[in-house]
Amino acid sequence: MVTIGAIIYEPGNTTRNKTGNWRTFRPILNTEKCVKCEICYIFCPEGAIYEDENENFRINYDYCKGCLICSKECPTNAITKVREEK
């Protein structure tokens, strides 16, 4: 049922929409090379880069659309790309 006034009461529920399947290329983050400069983190249009419990940056492939901004901007070349294979 459509809500009154088409109001959306679940903030941020786009998370149900897994945009990971938009990818042609997959960025791979090499934690060894990562200097935690946060550049990839702040420039990701999806907010798909996150810190794990060990404060290592990881890529959430559920949402990463494969734009590769992270790879391009990484100062240490810690993020490489591979072609998605389905």
Partner: protein, 297 residues
């Protein structure tokens, strides 16, 4: 280790923005700076459309969209309503920031009057114009923020045309002419500068205006990975200088060590691919003049 950027994601993933979308990057940066005590107004535009197709929303803060030309007016109403609610005791001990995020069309063209009214009336709000230099939502039609010689679908390059035939409307200076306390330009490629300006705008009482350059992969014609790079070149060439005007005082906030040739910026984008080196020279002169005017040699 100190964190550079706040970790809370108030603009959720799963939105329908293009891969490499600059507007999404801006939305994230804005919300990371402002935090949860905010009410966001969007005018019709790309950001609004790709972030809220019912029944989904990327916004984890209260957000409203009404129409294209009234971002300033809707924000005005919200700001006054907050004041009214405070009288009732609601939001008593905290500041709720009203932030309008509207595109160049919704700001410089159809929403111009509404913006001017809101600035002139002195509402306490942060107005952010995300400028991708054309109507990207509907297929790259030109807006008054489209720069000279850029090709757009309603100002196409052709045998008798070099694309857009008018220079870009200078919204920051127009906003500043309203005598508001804070005006700034910013670019998503410079997150610290951008977020510092947004923070300042939030803290200042009264209307503030931030003109953010936000590259668009589709409209400008470059590979998604280059969104940040293109924005950076816009600034490094002096095409889009970063400055702020705080209580009337002008200050360049980022000074490239040596301005790069405009050609590097132009040649990255398909919207300029029809230009000859001579054409680029004309644009270079425009940029040089503007930089001179702003003291950015």
């Amino acid at each position: 280790m100190n964190k550079r950027f706040p970790r809370e994601e108030l603009f959720a993933p799963g939105h329908r923005g293009c891969a490499g979308c600059g507007a999404s990057i801006l939305a994230r940066m804005v919300l990371k700076t402002v935090g949860r005590d905010v009410i966001v107004v969007s005018a019709t535009g790309c950001l609004e459309v790709f972030s809220t197709p019912y029944p989904e929303t990327a916004w984890r803060v209260p957000w409203i969209h009404t129409a294209f030309e009234c971002g300033g007016a809707v924000a005005s109403g919200i700001e006054k309503a907050i004041k009214a609610l405070k009288k009732r005791g609601k939001f008593k001990d905290r500041k709720i920031t009203v932030v309008a995020i509207t595109g160049d069309g919704g700001t410089a063209d159809i929403g111009f009057q509404s913006l001017s009214g809101a600035l002139e009336r002195g509402h306490d709000m942060v107005y952010i114009m995300y400028d991708n230099e054309a109507y990207m939502n509907t297929g790259v039609q030109r807006s008054s923020a489209t720069p000279l010689f850029a090709s757009a679908t309603t100002a196409p390059a052709g045998k008798k045309s070099k694309g857009e035939d008018r220079p870009k409307k200078d919204m920051a200076m127009i906003a500043a002419a309203h005598g508001i306390p804070y005006v700034a330009t910013a670019c998503i490629s410079y997150p610290e500068d951008l977020m510092k300006k947004i923070k300042k705008a939030c803290e200042i009482e009264g209307p503030t205006f931030i003109h953010v350059l936000q590259p668009c992969t589709v409209g400008w014609g470059y590979n998604p990975e280059n969104t940040i790079e293109v924005g950076r070149l816009a600034v490094e060439t002096g095409f889009f200088p970063l400055y702020e005007i705080e209580y009337g005082e002008f200050r360049i906030t980022y000074r490239p060590t040596k301005r790069k040739p405009l050609k590097e910026y132009i040649r990255m984008q398909k919207r300029y691919r029809h230009l000859t080196d001579e054409d680029i020279e004309i644009l270079q002169k425009y940029v040089d003049e503007k930089c001179k005017l702003l003291g950015l040699e």
